[in-house]
């Protein structure tokens, strides 16, 4: 049916936010600050 409609469907997987991920986010945030973000929108 999708092909007939000219649609291409890609299934997405979901991963819940977990504690480990939050810790890693914090760590990577600190890492990002050290990187300086030359390309960052904020800068």
């Amino acid at each position: 049916a999708s092909e007939a409609e000219g649609l291409v469907r890609i299934a997405l997987k979901k991963r819940p936010i977990d504690q480990n991920n939050r810790v890693a986010t914090r760590l990577s945030g600190e890492e990002g600050q050290h990187l300086g973000g030359a390309n960052s929108l904020g800068s």
């Binding site: 890609i10 299934a11 936010i17 990187l35 929108l41």
Partner: protein
């Protein structure tokens, strides 16, 4: 970098939705984020030897692909929370049943740090515009259109918020599935090609205006970000209403205690709000917005450092206080109530790009938060903007809002990530350069 590419909105660590693509012939499988906030495709390379992150993920082996074409041009992308570097290659990319031929992509040979090491995805497939593509590489989406693989230059996202792990939703290339949304879409034009950026109006908390975006804010629909990021002044008001822990700001407290009454008097005397902070001596006025008084001269700067009054945070705090007070005055609050309320807000300032915890038991008393897009209000309920981490007594609740201040002319800016794109089915219409939102099914 030399070309001044701007790529860095994403908080990839928290990205929640992934899909699978193939690169090469036969297709080598990779799990990627379909990211509307960037425009390059990259996957880890088999030639990535010195970054641990590469060993945790699938790696592209050029030698095993019959359609591989060498390019070799070096490429690097620095994100807010990490970076990758490598070189461009060309190969076929399989997306669903489609095979996109001669697609430029980055083989990442360096993924330093923890950012991509613990990531559950291998790479990123950017769905933004070529204007922000590093190396001006043609995005996969453009190639799909060029090669006539889809009839309509539109793609849409549907996130299944009620699904367990493994059933996250669907991205539809070539149009939208009517089963994924309810009612009609509200469309707004793309205002700055590069990101899927559009103009947004006022943000309301519990039906009341927060004032800050009443005159207009920019917003970017970004599937590569989990949370909703917006101006500190609004996030602080939201934090106060949902009981989110914040950081006490002494600058904010000082502004209220020492300048609060003066600011109120100036507002009541109908002084132009943008001029108030310069008039009380906390900012200078450049005609368009407040600027810290600290930029006037080095001598001034040193003096200001010593008395601690004229620093950037004081100017920022003053500008926020003006908006908050203005808004309270429009609600006919008394001066005492206003000063007391602003003082309370000073305890709720969010740490930039940080997360805020809230009490899971208080969801029922939290307000709806509404975003005005295309003249219509798009509400988020507490259960939609509060994220639950863990289950049972160990469950923790975190606010889906985070603070991020982008100065004019680009800002103030909102990033509408998965927290918004979950409740609202989002259509990215490349042909008509517009973004559409409708209630998700």
């Amino acid at each position: 970098e030399d070309e001044g590419d701007i790529v860095a909105l994403q908080n990839y660590m928290n990205a929640q939705y992934f899909g699978e693509i193939g690169v090469g012939t036969p297709p080598q499988k990779f799990t990627v984020i379909f990211d509307t906030g960037s425009s390059n495709l990259w996957v880890p390379s088999a030639k990535c030897y010195f970054s641990i992150a590469c060993y945790f993920h699938s790696r592209y082996k050029a030698g095993q692909s019959s359609t591989y074409k060498k390019n070799g041009k070096p490429a690097a992308i620095q994100y807010g929370t990490g970076s990758i570097a490598g070189y461009f290659s060309e190969d076929s990319v399989t997306v669903g049943d489609l095979v996109v031929k001669d697609q430029e992509f980055i083989e990442a040979t360096k993924e330093p740090g923890v950012t991509f090491m613990v990531a559950k995805f291998d790479g990123i497939l950017g769905l933004g515009f070529q204007e922000i593509s590093v190396g001006k590489a043609v995005p996969v989406w453009y190639k799909m259109i060029e090669q006539g693989l889809i009839s309509d230059p539109v793609f849409s996202f549907w996130f299944n918020r009620h699904a367990g792990e493994g059933e996250g939703g669907e991205i539809v290339f070539g149009g939208m599935d009517p089963k994924h949304y309810i009612g009609e879409h509200t469309y707004v034009p793309v205002t700055q090609k590069g990101y899927w950026q559009f103009d947004m109006g006022d943000v309301l908390v519990g039906g009341k205006s927060t004032g800050f975006c009443a005159g207009g804010c920019a917003a970017i629909a970004d599937s590569g970000t989990s949370l909703l990021a917006g101006p500190t002044a609004i996030i602080t008001e939201i934090n106060e209403k949902i009981g989110a822990a914040g950081v006490v700001s002494q600058e904010c407290k000082t502004v209220v205690s020492q300048y609060g009454q003066q600011i109120l008097d100036l507002l009541l005397a109908e002084t132009q709000p943008k001029k108030i902070c310069s008039q009380v001596g906390l900012c200078t006025f450049d005609g368009t917005r407040g600027v810290s008084a600290g930029i006037r001269s080095v001598v001034d700067d040193e003096a200001e450092k010593s008395n601690g009054l004229h620093s950037d945070p004081m100017c920022n705090a003053c500008e926020m206080a003006v908006v908050w007070m203005q808004n309270q005055l429009s609600q006919n609050k008394t001066q005492d109530v206003i000063l007391n309320y602003i003082n309370q807000l000073c305890d709720r300032l969010p740490s930039p790009m940080g997360e805020s915890s809230v009490d899971c038991g208080s969801l029922a008393s939290m307000p709806e938060i509404e975003f005005t897009i295309g003249g219509k209000k798009f509400a988020l309920k507490p259960e939609e903007y509060i994220l639950k981490v863990g289950e049972g007594p160990a469950a923790q609740c975190i606010s889906g809002f985070t603070a991020m201040d982008i100065p004019p002319p680009r800002g103030p800016l909102w990033i509408l990530g998965d927290v918004f794109m979950g409740p609202y089915h989002t259509v990215f219409d490349y042909g008509k350069l517009r973004v559409g939102f409708a209630k998700a099914a």
